[in-house]
Amino acid sequence: MKERVVADISRLPLHGMGAASMTWWGTLAFMLIEGTGFALAIAVYLYLMSVAATWPIDAPRPDLLPGTIVTLLLLVSLVPNYLVARWAEQQDLLKVKVGLVVMSMLGIAPLIGRIFEFKALNVSWDSNAYGSIVWTLLGLHATHIITDLVDTLVLAALMFTRHGNNLRRFGDVQDNAMYWNFVVVAWLPIYFCIYWIPRL
């Protein structure tokens, strides 16, 4: 078939940022998948609660302290997270390096808190359905923190290599920041379910 050139695209950039980047959309899609997962897990929590006569089931209410600390840590981490994203947009390598290191710290901190959270639940996963679902919710979210932490660590390391100063890396940093926002936002309803619904 004969071809007629009707458009010249040679002047287009070699890589799109934000909504022009495919990884951005990919991250969004995975956030949708995991968001659905969280929503369903919470639905299971509420379903079991509706079946149960008492809630929590023969266990004291979970202690607020560790969970609340973790929540605060996560909320605080949003600030540097936002800054990293902006620095990445401005392609400021130095600041991004610093920011990523900070974010790595702020990724590890809540994980430590998380360990105490499991203790603070005051119930074992195998004592009844209530124990099972709160452990699962907590664990499910912990895996997300870990995932993004590993991603952050690898990115941080990457920024110190020759691959660091590259538009794609800055894009990755932005996507990673976006995912972290998701991890934090997803935590809030879970926090409410685990710690506050039993207190209502």
Binding site: M1, K2, E3, R4, V5, V6, A7, D8, I9, S10, R11, L12, P13, L14, H15, G16, A19, A20, S21, M22, W25, G26, A29, F30, L32, I33, E34, T36, G37, L40, A41, V44, Y47, L48, V51, A52, A53, I57, W125, D126, S127, N128, A129, Y130, G131, S132, I133, W135, T136, V150, V154, L158, R162, H163, N166, L167, R168, G171
Partner: protein, 637 residues
């Protein structure tokens, strides 16, 4: 790898066609040999692989159904014992749903969507390779387990408590649950790829109202997958936790709930039906247009029907639970929603009829299968309306009536269009035509065999024959019809044999196919058959929904892409205006390593929860290897 400066930034308009094709081939080709097989990220190779594997599983599942028909041909037969029979019907269901139906539809999309939207590779090609390896691993796991008498025996729906820790001894149920995880991971991966490919890689000018209907159907399907599959992931995880570490999600004594499983399972399980059916809708719409020789009637209506089906799909799950004793009022709501889904289905049927009415039908094999589809699917749809009615359902639920119903929907509604689609796109995929003569044989044998096999099951159901029974007693009036069904199955099997023979023979020695054997309107037919590794020499530019009909002889193209690196065009979401010349990843072995690491972790975790901890380390390592930049031109930005 460093390209020398002359090669650097070489654009396609700097070259004449032969050297341009050579340069693109050099950049995009998959190396020959085992290494190429293991490292390729070409959506066409992976798509073909996917399709082939899925059809292998179809054949295996068919063998199982023959065994079941042997056992049921006469009362109290002893061909199979209850233990083996239960494994076999479970395997048949799980295999057909998770290893054939869903993967094969996604596989068709993996192959066709990038071609139809006029891009050079699918989005996230490495994820695509990974998803295939995961699919293969899951299927292999299930079948090896079956061969070792460890096949799941709790039904493809694995209802608790029967699948729970107390009543399902051994690892059989865990293997089912973990096989789910494998296939869901691969399905979700493909869904993401398709969504992003359709959103961002459409060729310039392909605005939303110009997207081919098959692509639309796959887009909707992918969203259904993204929303529905997490449910089964959660469910199967809870099941494994109950079985392995003693959680109590489904233990009534510890305030768990048995019906929770059914809610989670069917919240996935019903949309699953549309995950299988909607791609078929897309295929039918495509083939009807081509063989009726006119654009499909009611493009907008069809797209809306697709979306409506996709949304309604999530409002029907309870109609699988009408006899579990849920509140009747709630059930009536689900009756209404289940009935409502007949409306978009009706719209689709009517639009196709209108297209055929106004068109000039050309009776090639693909169109025959479309006709066979309408003939059988309408029956399936109508019996669907029947079981959507609560009172009706209380009599036919879990009987052979339902078996007949969903085989009419899944085989008549999805497999017939799929077979038509294979005949239709075979020339594009292999560069050779399939035989019209054998095709017609296959069509008649399959359609007649199918109806003779499955129609009587409606009657058996109303006569009181329950599902999932490994035998029935001589004093029940079911013998005659069961024997008839078993005999008719032979015709059906013969039909599939003819199809397989034709496919294999044609792939080797079929007549060589031209670029556009059916004079079809969509972009995949504008490139050679089979397409080159880079799909299109120059990126086509479209100005309508049926480009090859609107401009039969001249193809408007865009130029300016680099040839020294894998480069494709990213365009805007709605209007498809070019945004960037994005790089597409090169071949890599890491997806395979990741798949192996993940598989080890998943299988290991059937035996101990610690597998998740230790097993995830190699996975992380493999993923880092996957994403670590290799300093190729693709990294430039």
């Amino acid at each position: 790898m460093n390209e020398d400066s002359t090669q650097r930034d070489l654009r396609d308009h700097d070259l004449d066609r032969p050297s341009l094709e050579a340069a693109l081939e050099k950049t995009w080709k998959t190396p020959s040999g085992v290494w190429g097989v293991l490292t390729t990220v070409d959506h066409k190779i992976i798509g073909r692989r996917y399709i082939f594997t899925a059809f292998v599983f179809l054949a295996l599942g068919g063998v199982l159904s023959i065994l079941m028909r042997l056992q049921l041909a006469q009362p109290e037969a002893r061909v199979l014992g209850p233990d083996r029979y239960n494994q076999i019907f479970t395997m048949h269901g799980a295999n057909m749903m998770f290893l054939f139906a869903v993967p094969v539809m996604e596989a068709m999309a993996v192959y066709l969507v990038p071609l139809m939207v006029g891009t050079r590779n699918i989005a996230f090609p490495r994820l695509n390779a990974f998803s295939y390896w995961m699919f293969l691993a899951g299927g292999t796991l299930l079948w090896i387990a079956f061969a070792l008498d460890m096949g799941p025996d709790v039904g493809w729906f694995a209802y608790v408590p029967l699948a729970g820790p107390q009543y399902a001894a051994g690892k059989r149920a865990d293997i089912w649950a973990q096989m789910i995880t494998f296939t869901e991971v691969s399905a979700l991966a493909v869904a993401v790829e398709i969504v992003v490919t359709v959103f961002k890689q459409r060729t310039p000018g392909m605005s939303l109202d110009r997207i081919p209907l098959f692509v639309w159907s796959m887009l909707v399907t992918s969203f259904i997958i993204i929303i529905a599959m997490p449910a089964i992931m959660i469910a199967s995880t809870c099941l494994i936790l109950d079985r392995l570490v003693g959680t109590h999600f489904f233990n009534p004594a510890e305030v768990g709930d048995v019906l929770l499983w059914q809610h989670l399972f069917w919240f996935f399980g019903h949309p699953e039906v549309y995950i299988i059916f909607l791609p078929a809708v897309g295929m039918v719409s495509t083939m009807v247009a081509t063989f009726a020789r006119r654009p499909v009637f009611g493009y907008l209506a069809l797209v809306m029907a697709l979306i409506a089906t996709g949304i309604l799909a999530f409002g029907l799950w309870v109609h699988h639970m009408f006899v579990t004793g849920l509140p009747r009022l709630g059930e009536s709501f689900f009756t209404a929603s289940s009935m409502a889904i007949a409306v978009p289905a009706g719209i689709q049927i009517f639009c196709w009829l209108a297209t055929l009415w106004d068109g000039r039908p050309v009776f090639k094999t693909p169109l025959l299968f479309v006709i066979g589809f309408m003939f059988t699917f309408v029956i399936g749809g109508l019996t669907g309306v029947m079981v959507a009615s609560v009172p009706f359902d209380t009599q036919v639920h879990d009987t052979y009536f339902v078996v007949a119903h969903f085989h009419y929907v899944l085989i008549g509604g999805a497999v017939f269009p799929l077979l038509g689609a294979v005949y239709y796109w075979f020339p594009k995929m292999t560069g050779r035509m399939m035989s019209e003569r054998l095709g017609k044989w296959a069509f008649w044998l399959i359609v007649i065999g199918f109806n003779l096999t499955f129609f009587p099951m409606h009657i058996l159901g109303l006569q009181g024959m329950p599902r999932r029974v490994y035998t029935y007693q001589p004093d029940m009036p079911w013998f005659g019809l069961n024997m008839f069904v078993s005999l008719s199955a032979i015709i059906l099997v013969a039909g599939f044999l003819v199809f397989f023979i034709d496919a294999i023979r044609s792939a080797r020695t079929g007549p060589v196919a031209p670029d556009n054997p059916w004079d079809a309107p969509t972009l995949e037919w504008s490139t050679s058959s089979p397409p080159p590794s880079f799909n299109f020499v120059r990126i086509p530019v479209v100005s309508g929904p049926n480009p090859l009909w609107e401009q039969p002889d001249i193809m408007p193209v865009a130029s300016g892409l680099r040839t020294d690196r894998r480069e494709l065009l990213v365009t805007t979401l709605t209007k498809a205006i070019p945004q960037a010349r994005e790089a597409s990843p090169r071949n890599s072995i890491w997806p395979l390593w990741t798949a192996i690491a993940t598989s080890v972790m998943l299988i290991w975790s059937i035996f101990t929860p610690w597998a998740v901890v230790w097993g995830s380390i190699p996975v992380a390592v493999a993923l880092i290897g996957w994403f670590w930049p290799k300093g190729t031109p693709e990294d430039e930005a």
